[in-house]
Symmetry: C2
Subunit: 342 residues, 2 copies
């Protein structure tokens, strides 16, 4: 249904919504965020978008500056019981084990092959780099992309028995779409490997490879005599896009400060601080995992996605904390099929 | 004037143009490349664009994969008599010299202050890094951006007495626009400093900061007690986006192989090789500086923008070599005002 309203009326409604946060949010004819329950988190998002997109308003931000950055693990998709990229590495070690019989007796490979998660949880940085070296390096970027692309459509999440790309949060997929419909450019800024994400982010999130920022290893260009070219992935970390690395990565890859940033852990704190510290209206959000039934409940003492200092700072500075249990009507798209409509 | 043509007729014309390169290019009602003389270079560009954008054709490339990368110095704007970024560094040294009286007697500063270009042309990497350290580091990214933004609107090119941003090639500005109008995403991939380019590329080329790939120094995030954040530029090179670094930079920042790449020097060779080596129709172009009157004539023995191996390879492999004198009707926008219409 087409609604014709005067520009003055829209202006008044938006200004009211902006000034008195207790005012009921404008409910558009068609809700762009149907998986979000009505509440303060959803209202904070829609109010913010209304304010920065209102051409005549005091908080207007021109479209090219509407940069929105999202953490990936735990913010856009599930990160429990282990990071998806780690699940990928484990599967790769097992697939490669037949060619390396000595791995059965050699750590950290032994723990991986036997599924000894207790031993794996305790491995140090050196062992982790050993696993990364055999699963993420000493191959071309094209071969790695192919391996990830094959894996991502076949592997299944251990708890939900769904492809990992079904473990994306439906409310966040809607939020990405909603922001883009309002002239935002959406970016992933993740501690995960950039080349692990790029093969599928466009299909799953609508975020193209060139808008994915992540950790990376060193690559080297090679030219073969027949004009064949390749980029060789070396077993050497180049950049860790986590914690204080996130503002560094944002500056290097995007070159502008975001006006909207969403994370879920202490590794996102500096990205949120960087976003918060600039003139004008800004949105800082955290996903708080509070729903052990539909997803997981964890925060201050979690090994994966620890949320402690960032939660305190969000509460102290009035950033938006999404309470998954309270704020999300749907968590995963597949719920609607298996659980039925709530 | 609106022309109504059948789809079949367009298809036939495009296929003909593609198969027999001697066939005259389709001349659209309004020429999107008016600063290009009709000839093989212009025809190679328009034929390529027609082929990859024809939805039903064998060479069709979906819009998200239409990645076009351009070198900057010597490809999009003039690089003689010295790289513009070097001119910036010289001006900064002179501006800072009053606070450093010892520089008058100390190389490489002495040569910079005295305008001893012969001495400057001979300086080594260590001296160059010394100049970069005092002009590009030990400050915040915000301060550097402000310094560049101020300089770029006030500094003048020594030969043309125009702002450096008037030294952009009008045919290339038209080409960037033409590609974008045909669904391409245009990127700069330059050996120059990424933070030197980003403050002005959007205004001058229509290329936003997040589509600029370049060399960079190390930056470190800092949080001040009052929630103030900053990124501090250290005097340490992080990444050189030149030569074999260009495919590395393209992979890291863009994450897809370009289908269209333009350079002008041996530093662009690997980017062109990387672009050439993939299935499907690809465009590789070189600007050959052949016009000493309107711009400069230089190639194989030039200190700045040396074009030697890449020219041989372009000729051998049939890449498009733009002969500036022959192929460009206009070089700089200001010519039309000062020289009159040719």
């Amino acid at each position: 249904m087409l609604q014709i309203v005067t520009r003055r009326a829209v202006l008044a409604a938006v200004l009211l919504a902006g000034i008195t946060s207790a005012a009921p949010a404008q409910q558009p004819a068609s809700d762009p965020l149907p998986s979000w329950n009505n509440g303060s988190a959803k209202r904070a998002i829609t109010d913010f978008v209304a304010r920065v997109t209102l051409g005549s308003g005091p908080d207007f931000v021109p479209a090219p500056e509407r940069i929105a950055t999202f953490d990936n693990d735990g913010t856009l998709w599930a990160e429990q019981p282990i990071y998806v990229q780690f699940a990928f590495a484990i599967d790769r070690v097992r697939a490669l084990a037949s060619k390396h019989p000595d791995w059965k007796r050699k750590q950290p490979f032994k723990a991986v092959i036997e599924g000894d998660y207790k031993a794996l949880a305790a491995i140090g940085e050196k062992e982790l780099l050993t696993i990364i070296a055999v699963t993420h390096a000493n191959m071309t970027t094209d071969d790695f992309t192919r391996t990830v692309s094959d894996w991502i459509v076949t592997a299944r999440h251990p708890r939900f028995n769904q492809p990992y790309t079904e473990l994306v949060y439906q409310p966040m997929v809607e939020l990405l779409r909603y922001l883009r419909a309002n002239g935002f450019k959406t970016f992933i800024v993740s501690g995960g490997g950039v080349e692990f994400m790029r093969p599928w982010t466009e299909r799953v999130y609508g975020i193209p490879p060139e808008q994915v920022v992540g950790s990376s290893g060193v690559t080297k260009f090679q030219l073969r005599p027949d004009h064949k070219t390749l980029l060789w992935k070396e077993a050497k970390v180049e950049f860790i896009d986590d914690g204080p690395g996130k503002p560094v990565g944002i500056n290097r890859f995007i070159g502008r400060r975001p006006i909207f940033a969403f994370g879920n852990s202490d590794g996102d704190l500096q990205m949120l601080q960087w976003t918060a510290d600039s003139s004008g209206t800004r949105f800082m959000g955290l996903v708080h995992h509070t729903d052990a039934e539909r997803e997981w409940a964890y925060d201050r003492r979690s090994h994966v996605g620890k949320l402690d200092r960032a939660l305190d700072e969000a509460n102290a500075r009035g950033w938006t904390v999404v309470d998954m249990k309270r704020d999300w009507r749907t968590v995963f798209r597949f719920e609607d099929a298996t659980v039925g409509t709530r």
